[in-house]
């Protein structure tokens, strides 16, 4: 507070304040740069071409809002049930297939939402395999002979999105369950609580911060998705946003909708944090007791196996089988000589983005730990909001500052040296990397922050009192403790980048294809069959990291014991 008082008075004092706090200064700078695209969208929102709201309010807005709420509620609830339920089962009980499910439950994460939507529509629509078989078994002739739930519907969208998004919650919930102190559970059991009651009274509250992070990622992804809801003809706010932008030619109005969506998301996150403001749990220094899995009776074990098998079969095995079938049928159209190049592009870009996001995420999360309040902290929070914005809008937000920078440099060089530098950053791989960092920072910083939070402050104090600098404390104390979470964060971002589409399309350099953009040019015409091979490769490349991911989560317990 004394700092602030000095700050406002003397510019020189302000400068020295920043210089003396290199952590603060660098965090502020990075957070500011990463927030630029988000602010650019806010800025666009100030200049709409027309006021879109009277027309929207009068016509479609109530429907859009209702559909958006319904979709978020449905996807959030279903993802929570699958994610938390399965994480609890595989962590706490012994049943056939448990070891397999530990990692297999993460597999659907590698499947892009638009792929699963496409595959299931193909299977479940009128002419699809399922309905055709039903017709031939029961002798039905026309669509009017029987009723079948339409796949292109709200229900369809909720189920499809939950199937590929629940892994966010699953992996964070599982990590939290693994880290819980066994002693607490014994106490609870000794006090006469049933395993179920222990779950609700002890384990769930402990895991809540992690689950909340997972849920917020699921909700952000649901809110910003366009491909899946468009495919299923579900009109959400995002549909209204693109309509305003592309059909009414009003990017300002579209940015207003995007900003509104962001505000809603932030409110939800803040409400959740506020509601557990008095809870705090630090990891005990050692957890000597290994986590003990309870055996299940035969019937219950069978039930547990089926519960865990369900999401894996629906979210992974069926889509992959279907893609493989398409890839086999259309192999000649699918296989092109550039195929390997696309795959290398996807892979190297995703690796680079994962590393960049990890480094920046760690830096920001650690600085937030050092300064738990103030403008820097707010900046860190804002910088991880990119995920709540539809990718294409965020891409425009990325173009604005980059092109402004390029053109300013160019103008200066033209004036001073009479030389044009052209565009230095726009339309380059840097622009793509930058957009990935902005978009997926939430994914990494959420995971990093929630595990940093669990490191007891006495560690910091001990290190500092022994004379270690902030940097040294981070490198020698925190990073080794949270290395499991760091790996998790990096792998999640990698898989997300492999699937990323809207920003890649808009920002990429000439003649640059990733597997996702290659798939898109066919998928956008609803012809996924012809590029099924590429879609399959996206999924298969994602499997490696997913298995590593599971290993890193599982090892948290072993390392600590």
């Amino acid at each position: 507070m004394t700092h602030n008082a000095t700050l406002s008075k003397h510019p020189i004092a302000r400068l020295s304040y920043w210089v003396k706090n290199p952590w603060l200064a660098s965090t502020a700078l990075i957070a500011a740069i990463v927030s630029l695209p988000i602010f650019a969208v806010f800025w666009l929102a100030l200049f709409p071409k027309d006021n879109i709201w009277p027309h929207l309010l009068e016509t479609v807005l109530p429907d859009y809002l209702a559909n958006t709420a319904m979709l978020m509620l449905g996807t959030g609830a279903l993802s929570l049930c699958i994610g938390v339920g399965c994480a609890w089962l595989v962590t706490m009980y012994r049943f056939p297939g448990r070891r397999l499910f530990e990692w297999a439950l993460l597999l659907p994460f590698a499947v892009p939402a638009y792929v699963i939507a496409y595959v299931y529509t193909d299977l479940l629509e009128y002419s699809g395999l399922l309905q055709s078989s039903l017709r031939s078994w029961f002798g039905w002739q026309t669509p009017h002979d029987y009723w079948f739930p339409p796949i292109r519907s709200m229900g369809g969208a909720i189920i499809m999105m939950s199937l590929v998004l629940y892994p966010y919650i699953y992996m964070l919930a599982r990590a939290a369950f693994l880290e819980q102190p066994m002693a607490l559970m014994w106490v609870s059991r000794n006090l006469g609580c049933s395993p179920l009651k222990t779950f609700f009274k002890v384990s769930l509250p402990i895991a809540r911060p992690a689950i909340a992070v997972g849920l917020s990622l699921v909700l952000m992804e649901t809110l910003n998705d366009f491909g899946t809801v468009d495919f299923f003809a579900v009109k959400t706010l995002t549909a209204g946003l693109y309509d305003t932008w592309l059909n009414m030619n009003n990017i300002g109005g579209a940015s207003q909708i995007a900003s509104l969506m962001l505000i809603v998301m932030v409110t939800l996150i803040l409400l959740e944090q506020f509601s557990r403001r008095k809870q705090k749990l630090f990891q005990p220094k050692n957890q000597a007791q290994p986590l003990e899995q309870l055996p299940l009776s035969k019937g219950k074990a069978l039930a547990a196996t089926s519960v865990c098998a369900f999401p894996v079969i629906l979210g992974f095995i069926i889509p992959v089988a279907s893609l493989s079938h398409f890839a086999w049928l259309y192999f000649e159209q699918s296989w092109t000589s550039e195929f390997v190049t696309h795959a290398i592009n996807s892979f190297s870009l995703s690796v680079a983005a994962a590393i960049a996001t990890l480094v920046i995420g760690t830096l920001l999360a650690y600085s937030a730990r050092l300064n738990s309040s103030g403008p820097v902290n707010a900046m860190v929070k804002i910088s991880s909001l990119g995920y709540a914005m539809p990718g294409a809008v965020l891409a425009i937000g990325v173009i604005i500052p980059l092109a402004a920078f390029d053109n300013a440099v160019d103008s200066w060089f033209r004036q001073t040296f009479n030389v044009s530098t052209g565009l230095l950053l726009s339309g380059t791989l840097f622009a793509l990397l930058f957009s990935y960092v902005v978009r997926f920072l939430a994914v990494s910083s959420g995971a990093i922050q929630s595990s940093l939070d669990k490191v007891t402050p006495s560690m910091d104090m001990a290190a500092r009192s022994l004379g270690a600098s902030n940097t040294r404390t981070l490198l020698k104390i925190h990073l080794p403790i949270i290395s499991g979470s760091l790996l998790t964060a990096m792998l999640v971002v990698f898989v997300d980048c492999m699937k990323e589409l809207p920003a890649t399309l808009i920002l990429r350099p000439f003649n640059f294809e990733t597997l996702a953009t290659y798939v898109y040019q066919y998928a956008s015409d609803e012809q996924l069959e012809t590029c099924a091979l590429a879609a399959l490769v996206i999924v298969l490349v994602g499997i490696g990291p997913v298995i590593l991911l599971s290993k890193s989560i599982a090892s948290t317990r072993q390392r600590q014991s």
């Binding site: 003809a233 009109k235 309509d243 932008w245 059909n247 053109n407 565009l423 380059t428 040019q521 956008s524």
Partner: protein
């Protein structure tokens, strides 16, 4: 200039310019190429670009996206590397014009090759191919002559028998805009409301999806772009769908069938303007026009160029003669009308 250099030197220069533009995407260095921002899927135009490169030695670089390229052009400003924008319909052509990122081009060759109604009066955009917004009708359940006009889709006899993609899709918006241009707001809104009540299901899927639904017996008539008929007829799996319908060119006894275009515009910055104009010429000449028709089943825009055999077999038709730039003016009204009618709900 480059043609005087040896092939080896050319390759070296190309390599050099490529590596330079990889680091600094400054096309200033690259004189033997032309840069395209395309709203069209590259697999549809790549073969024609390849033919151009074979012919001229000019490399065509492409960025494809379905949205956002106009904003990218606006922000990149005078330093934008793009020379040309390719679009799939009149809406996106108007978008680049109103964003002020394209320049006028007065070019006698283009003006000769492209009929006036399919290019901007100011030379800011040029049509490349035309496609008719046709009606597809079940071969089994719809007799010939049962439906002959877009207006007929509102007839109560089609209740529960019409399938449609989203009313907000650019192709449908352009059709609705053409109806507004012809009949005015009030009539068109009545018409659209009546079509909505005739729908067999909530609007969904793409144009092919509607034809598949007719084959499955879910509905009897739908709207679709003509080239999809050709694409389905030549696809192993989709042949069955297309074979279940007839293609009908509506409004032959009055104003003619609504036609949309794929088109191109020269950008304001256009660093390789000379090459860009060469590509524009190439695309409107017989060879490329013929390729468009052979590969994508579109109609050549240049008068006198024969469409592909398959396309010709559907018969000739009369197109709505109203200039597209006039129809495009009613597009914003069409968007709001679709909302008011609740067509997509």
């Amino acid at each position: 200039m480059l043609s005087k250099l040896s092939a080896g030197k050319q390759r070296f220069l190309a390599g050099l310019s490529l590596s330079v533009s990889a680091i600094v995407s400054a096309p200033v260095f690259a004189s033997n190429e032309v840069n395209v921002y395309s709203y069209r899927q590259p697999f549809l135009i790549q073969p024609i670009f390849n033919a151009f490169t074979r012919d001229t030695g000019i490399k065509v670089n492409v960025v494809f996206a379905k949205k956002g390229l106009t904003e990218r052009l606006v922000r990149e400003g005078r330093n934008s590397p793009a020379d040309l924008v390719f679009t799939v319909d009149i809406g996106s052509l108007e978008e680049v014009v109103s964003a002020n990122v394209v320049q006028s081009l007065n070019d006698p060759i283009l003006e000769k090759n492209i009929p006036a109604q399919y290019r901007s009066p100011t030379g800011q955009w040029f049509g490349l191919t035309t496609r008719a917004r046709a009606i597809f009708a079940s071969k089994d359940r719809v007799k010939s002559g049962d439906i002959t006009n877009y207006e007929d889709l509102a007839d109560p006899k089609w209740k529960g028998k019409v399938c449609s993609r989203s009313g907000k899709h650019p192709y449908n918006l352009a059709l609705i805009a053409s109806m507004i241009a012809e009949h005015g707001d009030a009539y068109t809104e009545q018409w659209l409301t009546a079509v909505k009540t005739n729908l067999a299901r909530k609007p969904q899927g793409n144009d092919r999806e509607q034809v598949k639904a007719i084959k499955d017996g879910l509905c009897d008539v739908s709207l679709g772009n003509s080239y999809y008929y050709g694409a389905m007829l030549t696809d192993e799996e989709q042949f069955e769908w297309a074979n279940a319908v007839n293609i009908i060119f509506p409004n032959q006894s009055n104003r003619g069938t609504h036609v949309n275009i794929s088109g191109m515009s020269l950008t304001q910055s256009a660093p390789n303007k000379e090459n860009a104009v060469r590509l524009m010429h190439f695309l409107t000449e017989d060879l490329a026009q013929r390729m468009y028709s052979e590969q994508n089943f579109e109609y050549p825009i240049k008068p006198g160029v024969q469409a592909s055999g398959l396309v010709t077999s559907w018969g000739s038709y009369k197109a709505d003669a109203r200039p597209l730039s006039e129809i495009a003016r009613f597009r914003p009204d069409a968007v709001k009308m679709v909302d008011r009618v609740g067509f997509d709900n």
